[in-house]
């Protein structure tokens, strides 16, 4: 089975770097979707069968925390694994996001090795 992945970040640079890292990770990817904020992400999540979400926290319109809260409240979306990628180092915010179902948290700047490792951990349990 190949995965459909959604990247949610308002930075085109982060999207490009993350897409490159995912491409080099060896993960079985069918297609990568992208959104610039939480609201766009919810539209895609409700229209497509997404297997994994990467999301930033600080975004305009709807931020990453609000996106995670909306997904947690939606029975159709609550089980989709989410990996947060953010500059935010706050332990309390990280714990809150994990309580809402976030599977992993990667702090920017990230390396391709970190992306490969976190994808394996979240999707394959190793």
């Amino acid at each position: 089975m190949k995965w459909k992945i959604l990247i949610v970040d308002d930075s085109n640079v982060v999207k490009a770097v993350l897409m490159k890292a995912l491409g080099e990770s060896g993960a079985p990817i069918q297609r990568v979707f992208d959104a610039s904020n939480g609201r766009e992400a919810l539209d895609i999540l409700r229209a497509e069968s997404i297997d994994l979400v990467f999301a930033d926290i600080n975004m305009p319109v709807m931020n990453g925390v609000e996106l995670v809260e909306s997904m947690a409240d939606d029975p159709a979306l609550k089980d989709i694994p989410v990996i947060m990628i953010s500059t935010d180092g706050s332990v309390s915010r990280r714990e809150y996001l994990q309580s809402k179902g976030v599977r992993a948290y990667v702090r920017k700047p990230f390396t391709p090795e970190q992306i490969r490792s976190v994808v394996r951990e979240v999707m394959l349990g190793r």
Binding site: D10, S11, N12, V13, N58, T87, D88, V91, K108, P109
Partner: protein, 159 residues
């Protein structure tokens, strides 16, 4: 007050040096303010605000050529000339965003949660840059032939 400024300056120095190295494989070091040249061309001004237990702002002033070089390194593109201006600006915004996150952790630790503003990048004339750099809380970084002034201002202790 003087201790606060010193702590903020040190945190900013560490954040800028580590993020340039980690994101753009670029070495930078702080140089003495006396070595700051008088700029004669428009620079790119990147600015971000933060709010939380304290509020404040960070900024970088950089030569457009340095911005293009950093963007090409961040994106892993060989020639910076191939990059669209939009991608260069986006790369500078993201660089400052990450620097701000690192600065906040270095300065205030892992407990408090901060909200970052959306980074803005805009051109600033040489005249305005030179005037701005006469103010307090300025750090001067050198990377290769490029000089990159930066500033950090922690405005309000609201805790």
């Amino acid at each position: 007050m003087a201790v606060d400024i010193l702590l903020s300056s040190r945190a900013m120095e560490n954040a800028v040096v580590s993020v340039l190295n980690d994101m753009a494989a670029t070495r930078a070091a702080v140089i003495k303010p006396e070595k700051l040249p008088c700029f004669d061309q428009t620079l790119m001004h990147a600015h971000i605000t933060f709010e939380g237990q304290s509020s404040g702002e960070l900024g970088l002033l950089m030569d457009p050529g340095f911005a293009a070089e950093l963007a090409s390194r961040i994106l892993g593109v060989d020639k910076s000339g191939d990059l669209l201006q939009e991608m260069i600006v986006d790369a500078v915004k993201e660089l400052l965003n990450v620097i701000c996150g690192q600065f906040l952790t270095q300065r205030f630790g892992y407990e408090p949660a901060f909200t970052l503003g959306v980074p803005r990048v805009f051109p600033l004339s040489a005249q305005v840059c030179n005037a701005l750099l006469k103010g307090p809380s300025i750090l001067i970084f050198q990377s290769g032939d490029f000089i990159m002034p930066a500033y950090v201002r922690v405005k309000v202790q609201t805790a």
